[in-house]
Amino acid sequence: MPLAAGIDIGSLTTKAVIVDGDRPVAWALRPTGAFSQQSARAALEEALASCGRSFSDLAAIVATGYGRISVPFPARKVTEITCHARGAWAEFPRTRTVIDVGGQDSKVIRVDERGRVTDFAMNDKCAAGTGRFLEVMARALEIDLEEMARLSLSARSAATVSSTCTVFAESEVISLIAQGRPRDEIVRGLHEAICDRLQGLVARVGAEPEITMTGGVALNRGLLAVLQERLGQRINVPRHPQLQGAYGAALIAAEQASAA
């Protein structure tokens, strides 16, 4: 069976996944840093090393993510939309809607029964509704992301935080902190605001079950709980949601290698 690799070069992290046919055999995740070309190579080498294989064993490579344009070895380029959809569908074959919340953008993707993209909507105009926004807010509240999830889950009510504009939201959070509003309510309010935006994206393409969430923010159980409640259905979360793009890319690479 062909060995194939998928590399997802994001703004914050670079992920590599190696598959044997459709079975993942190795993966690596490292910060992208300032030099995406180097981190792409390093991630791939790390993944290869962990399964005892080398570059020449790879039948095909697919690169995705914003850094795909300048990857320093031969690779087919496919957008992260197509890759996240494929990866999510491979892990949960009944997936028909994928919600991906990354560092810089968020997207909702509709897929068919074969994991092919039929429609999508993206938010990349505005920081609200992205991982970056959560990080900024976590700093303002002086907590880490793990703590954010915990606080949100334990909150009994949510402070109202604007979802129209990040600038409004940030100033509101600062006011709430100054007013002494409990942090768990503020965090819950933030999650509500982000999920309101995600619901907006979902509404643009329509949500068909099952829904699978990908991207690092999926690990935030607090946000996940709010989103499930708002959408009124259970959401699948892969074991390694940040790797879904690279996994999907690897599967596409494997397909390409088989067809050759």
Binding site: S162, T164, E172, A203
Partner: protein, 344 residues
């Protein structure tokens, strides 16, 4: 059992509730209680007038559905609201009122024609029972409501007047007249007040809570130019025919949507002077273009200091608003004497 006449919603103060009443329906100014949620993005963009988004969401989800809505062609988002409602909420009958952007005899005639069409269309709604006295009586009633509100406005605070206006706009005008007459009139003439006086300029129906925050910050709102505030009270009485009504509505001080900046600025200058305003708070509704273009005119032409604030629809618990207004108030001189009664 006495059935209520059908509730017809409208979204602009250039839409005469007199016409809706004369057609035998209940005019209700659409005032959604909250901004639209994210789900509304399926229908209207996020970077779009928050009032229009909220209005769409309200009409789209209202159960039982509104009997009808009268939408003016006042601005681009409002025109798109009509289109999106037609496509996605066809169960809500929507009537478009085309509004001229300047005024004169021809514009009055044109608007009169459009008002007649609306009158005829609304009369045909199920349950509409045109009352006695037709348009003449409707005009008289609403003129009286405005006159009584004007009296109240002279002695009550701006937020209180705002709340009152919102109440009466959802009521039968006869009931509104009765309840306004029954109100205890406080001491005539304005009370002495050491707070600096501000004129609040905005376009949309600003939430009374926002005016309260401004007063909390230490200013006294002596006048405000908003869709559902003082400017409403400036509509001249009279209008027993559609033509007279059109003339009255077009003859009032123009809002930012009209293409009459000179007349508008003259009105604002008059009001500011008559009420002794010392500063202007310009409350821009985010994504409202007509108001956005109004600001440079006001800033340039006003002799008074102007504070520019941006807001969402409704009231957001923004400490930012309070802080900025406080800082602005600290720069204003204290008032010399009591504010004037204001233009009639």
């Amino acid at each position: 059992m006495h059935e209520l006449p059908p509730a017809v919603y409208y979204t602009c103060s250039y839409v005469p509730p007199e016409v809706i009443w004369a057609a035998g329906c209940r005019p209700v100014r659409l005032l959604p209680s909250a901004p639209a949620p994210g789900e509304c993005d399926a229908f209207l963009p996020r970077d779009f007038c928050p009032y229009v988004r909220a209005a769409f969401w309200d009409l789209h989800r209202r159960a039982p559905p509104a009997a009808a809505v009268v939408l003016p062609t006042c601005c681009d988002p409002m025109r798109r609201l009509a289109d999106v409602l037609r496509q996605h909420s066809p169960h809500v009958p929507c009537f478009l009122l085309d509004l001229p952007r300047t005024r004169g005899k021809r514009e009055e005639e044109y608007l009169a024609g459009r008002l007649e069409e609306i009158l005829a269309a609304l009369r045909a709604l199920p349950g509409a029972v045109p009352p006695e006295g037709g348009l003449a009586e409707a005009s008289r009633l609403f003129a009286e409501v405005r006159h009584l509100l004007h009296r109240v406005a002279r002695t009550a605070s701006a937020p209180a007047v705002h709340r009152l206006i919102r109440q009466v706009h959802a009521a039968d005008p006869r009931q509104a007249v009765a309840s306004l007459l029954a109100r205890e009139t406080t001491a005539s003439g304005p009370t002495a007040d050491a707070r600096p006086r501000v004129l609040v300029v905005t376009s949309h129906p600003v939430d009374p809570g926002v005016l309260e925050v401004i007063e909390q910050a230490g200013a006294r709102v002596v006048a405000e130019d908003s869709c559902l505030g003082d400017r409403l009270l400036t509509i001249p009485p009279g209008g027993s025919t559609p033509r007279e009504l059109a003339a009255a509505y077009l003859g009032r001080p123009p809002c930012p949507r009209m293409e009459l900046p000179e007349e508008r600025l003259a009105y604002l200058e008059d009001v500011a002077r008559a009420r002794g305003a010392q500063g202007i708070i310009f409350l821009a509704l985010k994504y409202c273009d007509n108001l956005g273009y109004d600001f440079p005119w006001v800033r340039e032409r006003s002799a008074l200091p102007v504070l520019f604030l941006e807001s969402d629809y409704g009231i957001s618990a923004s400490g930012q608003l309070l802080t900025r207004v406080q800082a602005f108030v600290e720069t204003l001189p204290l008032p010399a004497g009591p504010p004037g009664p204001g233009p009639e």
